[in-house]
């Protein structure tokens, strides 16, 4: 052993069966194979953008260049953060596809004689449904009535966007240039054409007949109904099958013969490396960004309650709805991601139990500095970009404008580089540990899961503002769904599992199985399930079918891993009672309990509620989406990010300054505030809006007059107390704890390597039972003290496997 330690360190054996690895590899390959196929479909089957759209007499109404430029105007003015296109975007303003479709169809209908005429309705439907696009000449012919409607609609949008008194949530006189208005109208007109014109050879439109619009004969397709039913069956069958399988085979291998003893150390006796101490600033930034996110969120919420003014202040001049909404969604990603990055940095020395490599702390500070530059730069860019700055470079520096990918491409690239730089930091820290580990063990999985974050985020760069919308949306959801819902989730699972392993409350091989189970379940449901965002944005019916079927399986891990999470925590409970020192991470674990709860409710229940195609058809872009978004994003990732902060801050703040009470107030306020927001406002409003959409029509349910009617306004105002509890009671104490973290930065902690006199009462932990293998392989350096000491059973019983 001693000689091999000097030359080539022997890798530790794999702790998981070959079958798990093969299953994971197969499912991943299958998932990504289908995803690539769908990508091919996206490029092949999206609605064409005609070179010219002409009247029967050959007069040009709008061109391909107009449509593309119109999409640019739409994006750079932040209209996707105001209303939506093909149902995708923000929820205050109208859906411009449905808006144009409805208003223009009404005009056409009137031209043909209106409601008094028997044939007007049918002639209108024919005008919209018959596909008069000639693929050979790439020319679309529309009726004279439609061309006339286009002119009227151009004037309408000129008034709408140039409105000097605001009252729409947009900046007063947001868009005044007549050329831009015409291009924008061309873009809306094209999207409305694609929403109603039948696909060649089919009886439904390019968008699977979305949105519902009686004037043009748009109603749910047979596929929409059929695959909704299949999706339900898949959910029930899949859940049943999984539970049955777990009853039969003991895959995860919990066992009750685990007699090892845990002794938790006082946080103050655990020495921190300089890089761990940098995370105090990270977590301070996290809480600061969180606070800012809720404040701009409150401002955007105010627009829904009162479009006119902000208690007398004309907020829309400088902080219009689309700007605060942009910041709200961007900051959500920023603060959560910053917490994850910090947690990764904090965890590495605990995994390796070695000192930092040279410059590690300095590099961590550089990373934080770069993050601040990206956050501030991108947000100012969005502000300036929406006001028309940057000229040709708008998509690079200003508002690129895709919801959730709002930041300019330069910032997007810098953020990707920042995450890659973070992976390099982790690599530097983990290098020696990785050299001695099997590639299927936790340290490598931790590294791979981290590596996936910049790689998958980078795919968002393929969404180009001048591509067809269907194509841009394909790449946008690589970030919004695949990155957020799958790869962040995977990284999360690995991190949480690893923390439990390091705390000694879960065996490494059990944690590994949970991670692999997560990989298998998410690759099956989540990867192909990305298509649940593409039901109606111009993708063919086959994509709708795949999305509906596979995303049903995505719900299973959400609810299932929650149950597993309970058992995880339970295992810890049993052993905790044996420890003399109190378990120091009560509140960090509580936030994990909250993650489990909101995963079940927000992601599982509220997510599935809107996942069926036939529901999504009427629901898209309503408050029910916001309901799912808030409960899942804040409930799962937000709580987790706060939990990570609690975990690290417990070491960074000296015990005499630490306040469990502050943690408790924050915990209950965040949960109560979120529950209030969901149950008092978002859910009932969503249900009302869904009903309206199915009853009257999608256009009406998304109109400003409905969204700001008196019933809706009451629900919006009733939300206020919950928001106050959330911000003041939830974030206030958190800010205090984070501030304490920055002030003390773990300086009180025991010196590195020295460790507490734990050996006074027990034998030294010399390489705790499972995770301390380097202790034997590299005796040169003294190990850092870990927060838990694992004392093997007296008889020396080998842990059961």
């Amino acid at each position: 052993m001693d000689s091999s330690a000097v030359t080539t360190p022997r890798r530790r054996d794999r702790l998981i069966g070959r079958g798990w690895i093969q299953a994971a590899a197969l499912v991943i390959l299958f998932g990504f194979f289908v995803l690539v196929l769908m990508g091919y479909q996206t490029y092949q089957s999206g609605p064409p953008i005609p070179e010219r759209t002409v009247t029967p007499s050959g007069q040009t109404v709008y061109t391909r260049a107009d449509v593309k430029a119109g999409q640019g105007v739409f994006l750079k003015n932040g209209l996707m953060e105001y209303g939506s296109i093909f149902g995708h975007g923000a929820y205050l303003g109208p859906d411009f596809t449905a808006d144009y479709l409805h208003r223009s169809a009404e005009l056409v209908n009137k031209t043909y004689g209106g409601t008094g005429s028997g044939s007007a309705a049918q002639r209108t439907i024919d005008d919209y449904r018959v596909n008069k696009y000639d693929a050979r000449t790439r020319t679309l012919t529309i009726s004279d009535a439609q061309a006339e409607a286009f002119t009227t609609m151009t004037a309408y949008y000129a008034r709408f966007f140039a409105s000097p008194q605001g009252k729409t949530g947009l900046r007063p006189k947001a868009i005044t240039d007549p050329t831009q208005i015409r291009q924008l109208t061309g873009y809306f007109a094209w999207s409305a054409w694609a929403a109603a014109a039948q696909r060649p050879g089919e009886k439904y439109s390019y968008t699977n007949n979305w949105p519902s619009e009686p004037l043009v004969g748009n109603k749910p397709t047979a596929d929409t109904v059929l695959w909704s039913a299949v999706s339900l069956i898949a959910l029930l069958g899949g859940t049943g099958a999984l539970f049955a399988a777990f009853g039969r085979w003991n895959w995860l291998g919990w066992h009750g013969r685990d007699r090892q003893e845990l002794r938790f150390r006082e946080p103050g006796s655990v020495g921190l490396t300089p890089s761990q101490r940098t995370t105090a600033w990270f977590f301070f930034a996290v809480v600061g960004l969180f606070l800012l996110q809720t404040i701009v969120g409150a401002a955007s919420q105010h627009y829904r309650a009162d479009l006119g003014s902000f208690f007398g202040i004309p907020l829309d001049r400088w902080l219009p709805y689309n700007l605060v909404r942009t910041w709200h969604v961007q900051l959500a990603l920023f603060w959560v991601a910053t917490s994850f990055l910090a947690a990764g940095i904090f965890l590495v020395p605990m995994i390796t139990r070695r000192r930092d490599p040279k410059w590690q702390a300095g590099l961590a500070y550089a990373l934080l500095g770069a993050l601040v530059v990206v956050v501030v730069g991108s947000m100012l860019g969005e502000l300036a970009g929406m006001r028309g700055a940057f000229g040709e470079l708008w998509s690079w520096l200003g508002m690129q404008g895709f919801e959730y990918l709002d930041l300019g491409r330069l910032w997007q690239i810098l953020l990707t580089i920042g995450m890659a730089f973070w992976v390099v930091l982790l690599w530097r820290g983990l290098r020696h540990k990785l050299a001695t580990e099997s590639r299927a063990n936790l340290p490598w999985l931790f590294f791979f899961a981290a590596l996936a974050l910049p790689v998958v985020y980078a795919t968002g760069l393929l969404a180009r503002h001048d591509s067809s919308f269907t194509v841009t949306d394909f790449w946008r959801f690589m970030v919004v769904h695949l990155w957020v819902e799958d790869f962040l989730e995977l990284f999360t699972t690995v991190m949480v599992a690893y923390i439990f392993v390091l705390l000694g409350v879960v065996r490494e091989h059990i944690a590994l199985r949970v991670v692999f189970l997560d990989i298998v379940l998410y690759s099956a449901g989540g990867v192909i399930g990305t298509a649940h965002h593409w039901y109606f944005n111009g993708e063919p019916a086959s994509v709708l079918a795949l999305g509906a079927f596979f995303s049903a399986f995505e719900v299973i891990p959400l609810t299932f891993l929650t149950i597993e999470a309970w058992t995880f925590i339970r295992l810890g409970a049993r052993q905790e009672s044996k420890s003399a020192a109190a378990f120091p991470h009560r509140w960090a674990v509580m936030f994990l309990v909250a993650v489990g709860f909101w995963n079940f409710l927000g992601a599982g229940v509220f997510g599935f509620l809107i996942n069926l195609p036939v529901v999504s058809y009427f629901e898209m872009g309503t408050s029910l989406t916001a309901n799912h978004g808030h409960a899942a994003m804040m409930g799962v990732y937000g709580m987790l990010a706060v939990g990570f902060a609690m975990f690290a801050l417990r070491y960074l703040v000296p015990a005499r300054r630490w306040s469990d009470r502050a943690a408790a107030v924050s915990f209950w306020s965040l949960n109560a505030g979120l529950a209030w927001m969901v149950f008092v406002t978002l859910l009932p409003l969503g249900l009302l809006q869904l009903y309206r959409s199915a009853d009257v029509g999608y256009f009406d349910a998304r109109s400003l007059s409905f969204v700001s009617d008196s019933t809706n306004t009451v629900f919006e105002w009733l939300r206020l107390p919950g928001d106050v509890v959330f911000i003041v009671g939830g974030i206030g104490p958190l800010l205090w704890l984070a501030w304490l973290g920055v002030r003390h930065r773990g300086r009180h902690a025991a010196p590195l390597g020295a460790g507490p006199p734990a050996s006074a009462e027990t034998p030294a932990p010399a390489g705790a039972v499972e995770h301390g293998s380097t202790g034997a392989a590299a005796p040169v350096e003294q190990e850092l003290v870990l927060f838990t000491e694992v004392v093997p059973p007296a008889e020396g019983v080998r842990p059961a496997d």
Binding site: F243, W249, H255, R257, L571, V593, A675, F679
Partner: protein, 120 residues
């Protein structure tokens, strides 16, 4: 009854149901040992682990979180039906909304007692 009043009454009633359901869900014993997932394993193992009841930490806290959220839900139901009575108050509306508000308040009181009583 007008549409808005009917909607709020129905929704508030649903919330009271959700509150009761959440509270019950939190009381579920999710002992890994008794889990159905381990049925096969249970048969094969001779000595079960020392039993941990749902009162043990942190399981007790999971139950407490459910009860806490249920409490918020019940308060929400009471608030919504009371606010609706201010907006719409024909006799029948007062009767229906009032009955639901009272139910919600009763649920709130009960849940509060459980929640406060389970303070560690």
């Amino acid at each position: 009854m007008r549409f808005e009043a009917v909607f709020v009454a129905g929704y508030a009633l649903l919330l009271v149901g959700v509150a009761a359901g959440l509270h019950r869900l939190g009381g579920q014993d999710t002992s890994p040992w008794r889990s159905r997932m381990l049925a096969g394993h249970r048969r094969r193992t001779a000595d079960p682990p020392p039993d941990t009841g749902s009162a043990d930490w942190p399981h007790s806290e999971a139950g407490r979180l459910h009860t806490g959220i249920a409490l918020v839900t019940a308060v929400a139901a009471a608030t919504l039906s009371a606010a609706e009575m201010v907006r719409h108050h024909r006799p029948v509306e007062i009767a229906v909304l009032g009955a639901i508000a009272l139910t919600a308040i009763a649920a709130t009181v009960r849940l509060w007692a459980v929640f406060a009583g389970s303070r560690p």
